[in-house]
Symmetry: C2
Subunit: 191 residues, 2 copies
Amino acid sequence: MARNPERRTALLDAAIEVLGDEGARGLTFRAVDARAGVPTGTSSNYFTDRDQLLSQVADRIFVRMTPEPGSLATAFRPEPSRELVVELMRWLARRMAAERTCYLGLFELRLEATRRPELRTQLTKVLRADLDFNIRTHIESGMPGDADTVRLLYFALTGLLFDHFTVPGLHGDRDLDDLIETVVSRIVPEA
Amino acid sequence: MARNPERRTALLDAAIEVLGDEGARGLTFRAVDARAGVPTGTSSNYFTDRDQLLSQVADRIFVRMTPEPGSLATAFRPEPSRELVVELMRWLARRMAAERTCYLGLFELRLEATRRPELRTQLTKVLRADLDFNIRTHIESGMPGDADTVRLLYFALTGLLFDHFTVPGLHGDRDLDDLIETVVSRIVPEA
């Protein structure tokens, strides 16, 4: 296997673009090579098979979507409160919008996982690590609510953001910030 | 355009199976004909183009997922309460599980809608009709909560069911009935 890490990352980022344009079924070594502008056959030097490519794409999506530790520490600095959770969720949604192709690519991968057990195992692992991290951070920082508060926020934000990205007109004149405030203020108890 | 309604429905149901197996990008006239076991060229007599096929698939998914009016009336017969909302959401989830291919096909279509404005318009229309119907039914039947209660239930159930269908091990030993009860009891106020 080829080991140039920058090249591998560039191939994975190209794979995420292919996911966005063509869906999971269009994600082939050939399509990745073409999108990355490298000679046909390059991807097959970096990934043993399509399952390995898909798993590493999943990992790469989470790396790109996870905030820097420094920006997270800053975000959690104010006094814990329901209002701060609203601000954090709005900040998170803006991050997702900035990485829209990644966020939608994750949905493509999750649908593909219904057909590929190895990908399902990998996605379960990264999604659980992410959810556990969010639960731990919420509780350790003294935010109001418990583990199920965070789980419920995660469920609702998934539905809300998927609407926002795929059918943005569904909720009429309710914009994203308004919907996030509604969701958080009904799920998170007062401090 | 050919007009045999049973044949059209059979083609749309075959299209939903193709969506489940191949994703939206695999949904071609040729694939639908093959899946329906009809001569190649049949679908092109029923749908002017791929956009029309996709729109009619979206409509068909909602027809299959919508409960019969009779079963809905029965479901809403008991005294309105938070506990009844829990039971209704569990019943809804079992329906979605029974129509798993439809439910996941709707996600495939929503991702495809990010690339096809006509499909996005159609999906926005059917999803809004469905959400408006759910809000109206909830309020008219005297269930506790308001329009945003229903909107929030819809967001959270979307996230929860998408986990259940794509990464069923994500929430460990929390089964679907347990998670639904948690979601409803934290979103819906006591009667």
